[in-house]
Symmetry: C2
Subunit: 152 residues, 2 copies
DNA sequence: CCGTCATATGCGCCAAGGCGAATATATTTG
DNA sequence: CAAATATATTCGCCTTGGCGCATATGACGG
């Protein structure tokens, strides 16, 4: 994988029927940790080390859940040197997109989710306070339309 | 349970945080059979025997999935004599409701789902053609606002 | 009350999913 | 190339979920 290129594991979906897509989407969303991850990515591209710092979960746990999200096509990943950046991969279909947006709105309304978000903001602004974030790339706002899904 | 009364198993949700509600909602939606069931209930209250007839799955399978849906609060049940009627239980929260509506819209756009629906329509109009539907109550359009969730 | 019909539930089996711990991989730096 | 860093994957364990099958429950009719 070349640097700066987004990837998405759509190859894992041999049956492309809408019903299978929905099943997989909901399976991807049906976990508290993954919802928290998505919430943090709602409008930013975020580096893995921040997830580990903010969610206070073991790094392999974070990585595994990001893997699930990748495989269900919900997020895309980009490598930058040692760092991996994750961002939400907006579905192409209108109805699927609508559904994901509703989910993100709902997440944004939740107390714990707001807490996670503000912790992320603080971590970015005072990066030097976090021993595990030294030199970590700051989350970048997602440019609309960039990084849309590309199958590999 | 008295006849004609709707029930919903919200008791199964001790932690009422939004995140738990979302997790449970998505778990409920993350199965092909349950999506097909919800699609058939989109704007009608439907009796179990129709589900068995239309989905062509064993009755215990149907019943178990209806049980999951009941326990996640996605549907409500009403008894009428020997028959059980199921209908979608619209969430109270605006964002959750929005999400469910989008899901139903998405289902309605799917080919297989449309096939299920038209099979249901046909079964209702020619009930006598189906040996397992003799005398079964015909699905009734859902009256808006009736049968909203009530915890027990 | 007994049989029947509609539906629900229990049981055993297998596959999938989540977790902690250890280890592997990829990239940069010296 | 070796060491360090960031991230991913593997393994073993346990829990959950779905299924087929058998059986239980609940309501009605005779």
């Amino acid at each position: 994988m070349r640097q700066g290129e987004y990837i998405c594991y759509n190859w894992a979906v041999p049956d492309k029927s809408a019903i299978t897509e929905m099943e997989r989407l909901f399976q991807g969303l049906a976990d508290r940790t993954r919802l928290r991850l998505l919430n943090l990515m709602a409008d930013q591209e975020v580096c893995v080390c921040y997830f580990v710092e903010i969610l206070e979960l073991p790094q392999p746990t974070i990585s595994r859940h990001l893997g699930y999200l990748r495989r269900t096509g919900l997020v895309a990943a980009r490598r930058e040197g040692r760092w991996m950046h994750y961002r939400i991969s907006v579905p192409r279909g209108r109805l699927a997109r609508q559904l994901l947006m509703d989910t993100l709105r709902w997440l944004a309304a939740d107390k714990q989710m707001q807490r996670d978000r503000s912790r992320l903001t603080r971590a970015c602004c005072a990066q030097d306070k976090f021993v595990n974030l030294q030199g970590a790339p700051v989350p970048q706002p997602v440019r609309e339309g960039v990084g849309e899904r590309r199958s590999i």
